[in-house]
Each structure stands twice: as structure tokens, then as C-alpha cells.
């Protein structure tokens, strides 16, 4: 699930990792009680400094998404539906902001975007 992170992005690596996990928890891809990959595993998989993973997990723990149990691993916490909704909304805003920036770069207006979005959603609904 944790596909590749982007070292090019100005967002620090630990924040990228934490964000992915937040989204996963919000979308219920990770259920409460499930254990996340160990620091060693994830660091090796993503080829990042283990300290980066530790920082991501700590941030998530502070926000209440996970719990780090010494010796046992890191476990997903139960998150309320409200909280999940909040997180999804935040994610949506991020996506839209990125989309608008990219559109501005090529000269596409917000109106044209809305049109394209409506078309795409319409197609999706029909499928």
C-alpha cells in the first residue's frame, strides 16, 4: 500500500509517510488494531533513514492515529467516523490545490477544470 515517496517534493519524507498512513486510516484500508510494518521493514522497503520512519510514526501517535507499543510494534487506533471524514476532506483539499496549481501552469482555468471533472464523474457514474 505504501507506494513510493517522492524525494523531490519539498514535503519532508517523514511527513509524506505520515500523510499516506493518515489517508489509509481515514479510508479504512487500515483497520483498528492492525499492525503497521515495523520501522526496520518500512525503512528497508522505502530505502529511507529509519529515523524518518520513527518520526512519522511518532507524529501519527501524537495525533492519535497509531500507538507505538515497545517491543510489539505500531498499531492502528480506532478513529471516529467524524475524524475520518475530516481527514478525507483535508486530503481532498490537498488534491484540489495541486490540481489547480498544475492547471495554472498550463493555462487551464478553474471553469474548464470543473467541466472536465463533471464529464469524468459522469462517465464514472455510468460505468
Amino acid at each position: 500500500m505504501l507506494d513510493d515517496i517522492d524525494p523531490r517534493s519539498p514535503v519532508p519524507l517523514y511527513e509524506q509517510i505520515a500523510a499516506r498512513i493518515r489517508v489509509a486510516v481515514a479510508a479504512e484500508e487500515y483497520v483498528a488494531g492492525q499492525s503497521l510494518p515495523s520501522v526496520r521493514q518500512l525503512a528497508a522497503q522505502l530505502r529511507v533513514n529509519p529515523a524518518t520512519v520513527v518520526q512519522a510514526y511518532r507524529d501519527l501517535e501524537r495525533e492519535g492515529f497509531v500507538e507505538m507499543r515497545h517491543g510489539a510494534g505500531t498499531f492502528v487506533q480506532a478513529v471516529t467516523a467524524d475524524r475520518r471524514g475530516e481527514e478525507r476532506l483535508r486530503q481532498a483539499r490537498e488534491l484540489v490545490r495541486g490540481l489547480l496549481e498544475a492547471a495554472a501552469r498550463v493555462g487551464v482555468t478553474a471553469q474548464e477544470l470543473k467541466l472536465a471533472l463533471a464529464e469524468a464523474s459522469g462517465e464514472a457514474a455510468r460505468e
Partner: protein, 299 residues
């Protein structure tokens, strides 16, 4: 001890053209420090000077708190070293090399050495001289890790290795760091590779340290700015201009700047150029721009 490696005023000369003068290095304990630089910058020489394999002209070197070369043997007992080229005796077999090495290091972990040997797929009875580049690379990292060092000094450990072996080597290192919190000093000209794992970078060019800072600072301040026009004056800009280039298609310029923050767009108001785009650079691009501007004496 806050710095695993501390260098002050290191000086060295070789021949007429190569010189290292007044080099300072600080490698924080527990960090993964990427020592970057183009080929010929002096990375290998610096590492040899750190380990007292070459005699320096002046300066101080401390490895894990030990003064080098006075206490170099004690420092080496806690340091794992992977050289640029295999330094083992080619006539010995893999198993014999391991046994020889183990005899010199008190903290040798024979069980783990075995494990690594198996997972790296290194046959014990092959002479070291007959190993392929990838196998030799894996053996070198094996020897350095099985010593259970507090500091790893890796000189281009993955140069010339295929991607699979590179991953094996780097994964083994990251795994070890996760377990022990050891410090890693890794030199490379393959910037992409180090981008993900380093938290500190030091850039060496022509024997001079051009930059040394946490990797976030290194990347985040440097941006490529696309402008719609060509501003005349550049004085009192709140950022440092590393380079300016005209756009290949149509009007405008592309600037590479350091220390950029978003509110600085205002700087361009009133000039004949507006900011069209702000692009993030990856470590390699930052590295190239930094070198280019430092060579021109702008930084």
C-alpha cells in the same frame, strides 16, 4: 559525544593541482551523512585522511572521540570501513577472509556474519579475487557490518554495482542503523541514491567543502523560478541567485535561487517580470546548481 566525526582545518596536498585546505567536517552521531561531490573532488582522499591511511599536512581529526592518528587503532575497532575498491587479499577464500577479519575485531558477530553470507549468497570456498564486482561489494559490506561498529565509513559502496546489489547493500546498512543507531558516513557521486536515506549532506568540490547542512535545508530553500520577463537588476534580492538562463521558447527567464520563500514573489512586482512558476528541485539538481555557482564564485 555529539559528533561521530569531527574535522578541523584539514590540509593535504598531492602533486601540483590537488589540494585540500582548511576542511571542516561535522558528522552528528546517529546521522546518515551523505558526502557528495563530483569525481576527483577529493572524497576518497578525505576518507583516507580520516582513517590515517594517508598522512595529513595539518588539522585535527577525531573519530568517535578518538584523536587520529594517535588513537586510530581504537577508533578503527569501532569503525566499519568499505573502501572504493576491494582491499582484501585476493588469494584467500570468502570463508578465510571472514575468519581472518573476525580475529581482529572483538565485537565480531559470527552468527550474523553467517546470516548475511547466506542472504547475500556468497559461497565460502570462492577465492576473493574471483568474485564478481557485485559479490565483492557485498562481501565488503558484510565485513564492515559483522564487526558491529558504531560508525560506518562507506566510500562509494555501490559504485559500479547493478541495481539489485545496490539495494541489497543499502538495505543491509539501513537495517543495521535501525537496530543500533550507528552513524553512517557515505560518500557517493550518485546523488539520487543518497537522497532518500541521508539526513545530512556535505558537498565537496575541488577539495573544498561547499555546503554542509541537514538535507531538508539543502533541498527546501533551492527552487527553480520561471519568470515571464527578464528583470534588469538583481540587487538586494532576499534570496541568493545561483543561476539565470533565458527561456528557450518565448520570452522570460529561468532562475535558480536559494533561500526562496513564497512571499518573495513580491520582489518581482514592479519589474517587467512576474513569477509564472516555482519548481522544486531534487537533490541532484540542487547539487549541480550549487557546484556550478560555487565554481563561479557566486555563493
Amino acid at each position: 559525544m555529539s559528533n561521530a566525526i569531527e574535522v578541523r582545518g584539514l590540509s593535504y596536498r598531492a602533486g601540483r593541482s590537488f589540494e585540500i585546505s582548511g576542511l571542516d567536517l561535522n558528522v552528528p552521531a546517529g546521522s546518515i551523512y551523505g558526502f557528495l561531490g563530483p569525481n576527483g573532488a577529493g572524497k576518497t582522499t578525505t576518507i583516507r585522511l580520516l582513517l590515517a591511511m594517508t598522512r595529513r599536512l595539518a588539522g585535527e581529526v577525531r573519530l568517535l572521540g578518538h584523536d587520529v592518528p594517535r588513537e586510530v587503532a581504537q577508533a578503527l575497532a569501532r569503525t566499519g570501513y568499505v573502501p572504493e575498491r576491494p582491499h582484501l587479499y585476493p588469494a584467500l577464500t570468502v570463508a578465510e577472509s571472514l575468519r581472518l577479519h573476525a580475529g581482529f575485531f572483538q565485537r565480531w558477530d559470527a552468527t550474523w556474519a553467517d546470516q548475511l553470507q547466506r542472504s547475500f549468497g556468497l559461497p565460502g570456498d570462492r577465492p576473493v579475487g574471483s568474485l564478481s564486482k557485485g559479490e565483492a561489494g557485498k562481501l565488503l559490506i558484510l565485513l564492515a557490518l559483522a564487526q558491529r561498529p558504531e560508525l560506518l565509513i562507506l566510500d562509494e559502496p555501490t559504485d559500479g554495482l547493478d541495481p539489485m546489489v545496490r539495494r541489497d547493500v543499502l538495505t543491509a546498512v539501513l537495517d543495521y542503523v535501525a537496530e543500533t543507531g550507528a552513524t553512517v558516513f557515505i560518500s557517493s557521486h550518485l546523488v539520487h541514491e543518497l537522497e532518500r536515506m541521508c539526513d545530512w549532506v556535505g558537498v565537496l568540490d575541488h577539495g573544498r567543502l561547499v555546503a554542509e547542512m541537514p538535507i531538508q535545508s539543502f533541498k527546501s530553500g533551492v527552487k527553480r523560478i520561471r519568470l515571464t520577463g527578464s528583470p534588469e537588476h538583481v540587487e538586494d534580492a532576499p534570496f541568493a541567485v545561483l543561476s539565470r538562463m533565458a527561456e528557450p521558447l518565448g520570452p522570460g527567464e529561468t532562475w535558480v535561487v536559494r533561500g526562496w520563500r513564497d512571499p518573495m514573489r513580491q520582489y518581482f512586482e514592479g519589474s517587467n517580470a512576474a513569477v509564472r512558476d516555482v519548481v522544486d528541485l531534487d537533490l541532484e539538481e540542487v547539487f549541480v546548481e550549487l557546484l556550478r555557482s560555487s565554481r563561479q564564485g557566486e555563493v
